[in-house]
Symmetry: C2
Subunit: 356 residues, 2 copies
């Protein structure tokens, strides 16, 4: 049998063993995803004794799936370096290999982020010209959706990394979110151009050059994320990860305080009852599971990381995100755009500016 043709039918490699509630939540998530994506096929990697009975529960998953057994899995606390040495036969590594071998079009895992990044970098390599991958995700804003990166792949970033994130994020916002000419901002502690650390200042200089085909807005601040001031927010992985989790935590706190206030009085309880459909709609809109599925951009292959603590609904969403990235040929576009930038000489002097 030949590997499934990319043109006909799309195949996703799935790490069944990653995530707090794996493998049950993973297989149930595949079933949910198939409601919207009846034609997708899955290559699932994991412990047969645990996974096969789960697959057997969902007839449509059963017909769409081939399971490859492996007893190995990457623990949550394993360091990336250890995963590279000891994790070659893990469900995660085998799933990545399937993409590398052209047997699958992309991978989804809810496992250890650092290990997934390391194994994917090793297995899939980077897109030409991109030095480091960025983790991207999108956020609800007052104006729609904004993509932000890096969300944690790179604790230390220089200006060159930030510029590459800007290019990748811009393509993402155009191809996947459908923004015609996405605006790009760099996250900083002030909008004035004399503020910030040396990396953001140098990236600002490079992106301000008029010959770059990017709608560069300049610096944005933390509150601009929720405001939707720009379509793409560029930041280093340390700051981005903390901003992402601070936003999640604030949303949770807000929901908690709202509930407390409503349940504390008869009027509040009655009002909440009457407004139940509206409150449900609201809850759905801010449901973090809707935004589950972080994309690893810059790799020579589609790799989507689901939140480790998610449930089947969230995992299904991560599967949908992966399929969308594949259909939108995201990596081809990033590659084409970045090559054009390099060829144009618009990025010349980037290294000097970055180290200056």
């Amino acid at each position: 049998m030949n590997a499934p043709s990319k043109k006909d039918r799309l195949t996703l490699a799935v790490d069944a063993m990653g995530g707090d509630a794996a493998p049950a939540m993973v297989i149930e998530g595949l079933d949910l995803a198939m409601e919207k994506l009846p034609n997708v096929r899955f290559q699932v990697f994991g412990d047969e004794a645990q996974v096969q009975p789960l697959i057997d529960r969902y007839p449509r998953v059963q017909t769409a799936t081939t399971l490859t057994h492996t007893a190995d899995r990457i623990p949550n606390e394993m360091k990336p370096s250890a995963a590279l040495r000891q994790g070659r036969k893990s469900s995660m590594a085998l799933a990545i290999n399937a993409v590398k071998a052209g047997e699958a079009d992309g991978i989804v895992s809810a496992g250890n982020t650092g290990a997934l990044m390391a194994l994917a970098m090793f297995g899939l390599r980077m897109l030409p010209g991109i030095s480091r991958p960025g983790i991207a995700s999108f956020f609800p804003t007052m104006r729609g959706e904004t993509v932000m990166l890096d969300l944690g792949a790179n604790v230390d970033c220089d200006a060159e990394n930030l510029v590459q994130f800007a290019v990748m994020g811009e393509v993402f916002a155009r191809q996947v979110l459908g923004h015609e000419k996405p605006s790009v901002g760099i996250l900083n502690v002030g909008a004035e151009d004399q503020k910030g650390n040396s990396a953001v200042k140098a990236a600002f200089e490079i992106l301000s050059r008029s010959e770059l085909p990017i709608d560069f807005y300049g610096f944005v601040e933390g509150d601009d994320i929720g405001r939707g001031t720009v379509d793409v927010v560029v930041t280093d992985g340390f700051t981005g990860n903390i901003a992402l989790k601070t936003a999640e935590g604030t949303a949770r706190l807000f929901g908690h305080l709202l509930k407390e206030a409503l349940m504390g009085s008869t009027g509040g309880r009655l009002g909440a009852l009457l407004a139940r459909p509206a409150l449900k709609e609201f809850k759905k809109r801010v449901d973090p599971r809707r935004y589950n599925g972080a994309m690893f951009l810059g790799l020579n292959g589609i790799c989507v990381k689901s939140h480790g603590g998610t449930d089947a609904v969230g995992f299904a969403h991560a599967v949908e995100v992966a399929v969308e990235l594949i259909l939108d040929r995201l990596n081809d576009e990033i590659h084409a755009d970045y090559s054009r930038l390099l060829d144009s000489g618009a990025l010349a002097g980037l290294k000097e500016a970055a180290s200056g």
Copy 2:
């Protein structure tokens, strides 16, 4: 006449010209603050032609205030270095001088943050042993209130700075928030101790030493801020500023989406009407003006920065914060605690660890 005795009556130096809606919002804020603090006195600095008519509008402010005229003020966009050179006769600098001269017990300004920090460092100097000031503020959490610092004074921080922030934040949480044995966490991209940049890792090592009289929790993540996992969140000024503003922006977005959902249906509108007192209570609880007033910790003098965009209610809150810090003798406590730490040798090797 002698300077007002610190024992009898507390005097606050006030920069009347800082803030978007200054000086009107400042003087109205003083009047509001006097509702709770009838005995406080003000030394106000600003343009007499603008400020005196405002003071004359509020009888109790009028009796409690002496106005010193200056036509100079620090513009919002002025760099700190320029403020040091050109701003010596500004309302902000004169207010700081009043504290330095012992005529006032602390200063409140809603002006340019960088300039205020530079002028205060120059005018008031640092507490012995503290190398850099930290901007601190408190946040609502699921468990009460948490203090976080630095919120933007230091874009680049090393481990030594972070340890000093931990000491200052711990004293603050004990003295001002009334936590008996405050727990302290360092903001990071993961709870595991191998994650993060070199500064947070080295600070973790120092604070983990058992002989330090600090209840050190370890690393916390962005969502721990809203959860209230620790009483003190320590971070560098770049990350802290972005986390603060991301939280503000998320709260605003959440409120916006909630309103949109409720107003979009008859049931929602009716429910909101019934629940109005509860929703009002909720709104009050998350009102950012309640949390206005960032403290500059580590200076040899009390200095509170009000948000530049605040109104009289927010400015009044900043005044209350300043009075509380003075009454709690915050700086004496920080000084005593930090000296004890230095003397104990518990911080020995800090420099080496910080640079390692």
